[in-house]
């Protein structure tokens, strides 16, 4: 399983790049709706979503390099650990920083997670074997030609 490319890393970096594009808009909308605290909480939510993707990708890539059993263990254990870390991060942010709006933080985390995945799905579904590609950078499939050189 060593020879395969690090597809998880490619997808996670692409998700992070997309998140950087949408983060200012998300922060702006949250700021307009819930004020400065809401804007800061929305920024924290997007950051947590990116960190979650990167942690998943790192764990899965490491597990895939080792063995199938490690991959399964990392996938299942990583889910529990990441949920615990997210819960801890939200509780800690709520306890330490008075400005954190937990509702905005939670909603932004969920919306960013799902929205970025759907965005990435457009690229990945186009080129499943080479994820992380933009639509305009995708490889066009070779055209088949007939015996007389006529394109079918």
């Amino acid at each position: 399983m060593d020879a395969t490319p690090q597809v998880e890393r490619s997808i996670a970096l692409d998700l992070a790049r997309h998140a950087l594009y949408v983060a200012p808009a998300v922060v702006l909308v949250a700021g307009l709706v819930r004020g400065v605290d809401g804007a800061a909480s929305a920024g924290l939510g997007v950051a947590l979503a990116i960190a979650n993707f990167l942690a998943t990708a790192t764990g899965l890539a490491w597990g895939a390099r080792r063995s199938p059993a490690t991959l399964a263990a990392v996938a299942m254990g990583g889910f529990v650990v990441r949920m615990g870390v997210l819960l801890g991060a939200m509780l800690l942010a709520d306890a330490l920083f008075g400005w954190v709006d937990v509702i905005v933080l939670g909603i932004t985390l969920f919306a960013a997670h799902l929205g970025l995945l759907f965005w990435e799905l457009r690229s990945v579904s186009l080129t499943l074997a080479a994820p992380g590609l933009r639509r305009d950078r995708s490889i066009t499939p070779p055209t088949r030609t007939g015996p007389e050189g006529v394109t079918e």
């Binding site: 399983m1 395969t4 490319p5 597809v7 998880e8 997808i11 979650n52 993707f53 998943t56 990708a57 899965l60 895939a64 199938p68 991959l71 399964a72 996938a75 299942m76 889910f79 529990v80 990441r82 949920m83 997210l86 819960l87 939200m90 937990v102 509702i103 933080l105 939670g106 909603i107 985390l109 969920f110 997670h113 799902l114 995945l117 990435e120 799905l121 990945v124 499943l128 074997a129 994820p131």
Partner: protein, 85 residues
């Protein structure tokens, strides 16, 4: 006996306690389904990689997205537990 104990409690404390209990049930309940789902995704991905090692890159792509989408369900319960007050 439990009802008697509950009746003796301050109503505010009872509401707080039941809210905390509800949060735990929502978060815990919402994490069960994704846990099973991720297990299915990973199990089938490993089977596919064992059958066709040359397709491992494609399988892992699908697996990563499958895990992330399934995890969104757990995040939904997680957010709902925080919104409950």
């Amino acid at each position: 006996m439990l009802l008697r104990f509950l009746a003796e409690q301050d109503p505010g404390e009872l509401v707080d306690g039941l809210t905390a209990l509800g949060r735990g049930v929502v978060y815990g309940g919402a994490a069960i389904g994704p846990g099973i789902g991720i297990g299915l995704v990973v199990g089938n991905a490993i089977t596919a990689m064992a059958r066709q090692p040359e397709a491992a890159g494609m399988v892992r792509t699908t697996m990563f997205l499958g895990i992330a989408f399934t995890e969104a369900l757990a995040l939904f319960g997680f957010v709902l537990a925080f919104i409950l007050s």
